[in-house]
Amino acid sequence: MEKKGLTRRGFIKTGLLTAGAVTLGTGIAKPTGMWAATPKVKGPIKVGYQAIMSGTLAGYGEFHKMGATMAMEEINAAGGIAGNQLMVEYRDSTLQTPEAIQNARYFVDSWGADFLAGIDSSGQALALAPVMAELDKILMVTHAATEKLTEEQVYKNGIKQIFRICNATYQDGNAAAFVAKDLPAKSWATVSPKYEYGYTCWEMFKNTLTALEADVTFSAESWAPFGTTDFRPHINTILDAKPEGLYSTEWAGELIAFVKQAKQAGVFERIKHVMFPVGAAMDVLEGLGDDMPDNVWISGRYFFLYPNNKRNNDWVARFHKRWNHYPAYVSETGYSTMYAFKKAVEESGSKETAAIVQALEGMMLDTPAGYRIFRKEDHQAIYDVPWGLTVSDAKYPFKIMGKQVMVTAKECFNRPPFEGPGTRPPY
């Protein structure tokens, strides 16, 4: 402890010196050291994290927690954020909008959070945006995917306090359409969630695919309410429509139940081209095991085998050692969020919201999922996640992505320019 304290003081001294040099030397010697320009950041850095921790989706909360906790442990072991301890407190978001707002207010008003993170539900994220503006604290969204959050709340309404580190429905709708246009299927149907996320993805998929491929048709849609366990009636609708392609944004346990029941009903023999935009989630792959058919298109917000480089593979190994699990995508986004906050605080030398917004806008961040850039206009993180076909692998007790197709974020996160022609699919 004593020794560490000495080092810390040493570092701060260097920081002060560098900071001084900067003010004098008109930015020639840009501060790059760990706490280069940060003498004024005081006290622990507190992050209030909310995710779903009860009910049928409680597993997602666990995965969020694993990622964020691991980042916290690593950061604190390496000296914290600008010399300050990082503290993370978790609360159950319950997926209910009033609860999410209550949590946010608790975190900021009672607990004294500097930053907020988490959120699984698109509805919650949209409702929280004005609250975050009022509280004037930053919320880093790690899971909720509706494009309306960044396009409307951030870009149009100018709520600068919202950032999103996970990819958005562009991956689920647009990128899927890019993959689908090269498939021989000409008619598509969907079984998808009967709420914002399900509707917006299918709409985007339809619009983009129609623009790319004029003769495509959409023959049936069946919307499953939240909490559906019996998908058989929906499967009847799909089989009656006899589509060549099936697109489904069902996720988590509901996707597991859907795939199992669809398999029993012979859906995968009848429909050759199946796409699950969030099928590459670990809970789904592990939950289904061998029941996930081969040659199904899956994607997600991060897949632990991509990118296949040292940075990611080392992280996955560390994560597996720490939790005895492969990281789910919310683990990666939760983990990277803490590093985004760290980098922003250390670069700006402040934990004030305005300074952090400025630091995050356009920031390039090295994360397990690859380099992310927070787009200035809409605060959406730009990074690539592949689409791939399911395949068995002797190394894992579940299916992984075999053949992969990359639709880059640059291609499919189709805004900016945000206004005028070419900003909405088809573009």
Partner: protein, 290 residues
């Protein structure tokens, strides 16, 4: 609308309905005899599924052994709840009973998270029942056919038990007049414990059978089914097994046809039916007017 589609929508509705019936039967029995609206019934369903799953793991995949042993473990929980908790609230107003059983819902959800983890578990397949049979050229899951067959068997068994046996007569006596039954020597507390455990067992069996039917175990899995079971019980007449059976059939078919043909209103249909029944016949199809 072709025949293939129609038959499949019918069969799907029947399997859904019979599945809800399996859960609603225990709920109805407990209300009919003990007068308790047991929210925790959904938890028994969940525990039945999880215990069945664990037994399956232990004995190496014999599903039927899981169905046999799993629910018996849950029965023990039923005993504790009735003997040490519910017994003290029989004389209190209904809201207290509801609160108590709801507390158990929360407790059991967390217990499952502690024992089995918060994540969802994909269920194992059942040898011999995991496939499907071609009906009119379209595959129908064998296990759904099995559920369609089990439902009426359970109904028949319950009917025989209550109408035709000595135990049934005592149960009927105690449910119609607790004090009189006690006066003629029926050990009412013991009987109530027994009936509660039996109802618990029925819910747990529903859960165990759900393992391959739903294909998924999650903490909180009982919360959805218990709502449907309540709707069924209300439509049929609270406490009436006959009514619950009919109600489950109607709800199953309605949700299947609703999803297929009027998808926008599929959820709405079920609740509009319940509302209509409550307005025109508040006691339900077979309930006794009070």
């Amino acid at each position: 609308l072709n025949l293939e589609s129609f038959i499949h929508v019918c069969l799907t509705g029947l399997s859904t309905g019979m599945f809800i019936w399996l859960v609603a039967s225990g709920l109805t029995l407990i209300f009919g005899v003990l007068g308790i609206l047991n929210f925790a019934h959904g938890s028994f369903y969940m525990l039945g599924a999880y215990f069945c799953f664990s037994v399956l793991r232990l004995v190496g995949g014999n599903f039927w052994l899981g169905v046999l042993i799993g629910p018996l473990c849950v029965c023990a929980a039923g005993y504790v709840i009735e003997r040490w908790f519910l017994r003290y609230v029989y004389h209190l107003a209904l809201p207290y009973q509801l609160l108590l059983t709801f507390a158990f819902v929360l407790l059991f959800d967390d217990l499952v998270k502690i024992l089995w983890g918060a994540g969802s578990i994909g269920s194992p397949t059942v040898a011999g029942l995991s496939g499907s049979v071609a009906i009119m050229g379209r595959n129908f899951p064998t296990y759904s056919l099995f559920i369609i067959a089990v439902g009426p068997l359970v109904a028949l068994g319950l009917w025989a038990l209550i109408e035709k046996t000595w135990y049934g007569r005592i149960i009927r006596a105690a449910s119609s007049d607790r004090e009189m039954a006690a006066a003629i020597g029926v050990k009412v507390p013991l009987l109530f414990t027994g009936v509660f455990m039996f109802g618990t067992w029925l819910g747990a069996v529903g859960g165990a059978l759900a393992v391959p039917f739903v294909g998924l175990l999650t903490p909180g899995m009982g919360e959805m089914i218990i709502i449907e079971a309540f709707v069924v019980a209300v439509i049929g007449g609270l406490g009436s097994l006959k009514g619950a059976f009919l109600g489950a059939l109607i709800i199953g078919l309605l949700s299947s046809f609703g999803t297929r043909f009027i998808p926008t209103f599929d959820m709405f249909l079920i609740f509009i039916l319940m509302a209509a029944v409550l307005i025109w016949r508040p006691q339900g199809f077979f309930g006794e007017a009070s």
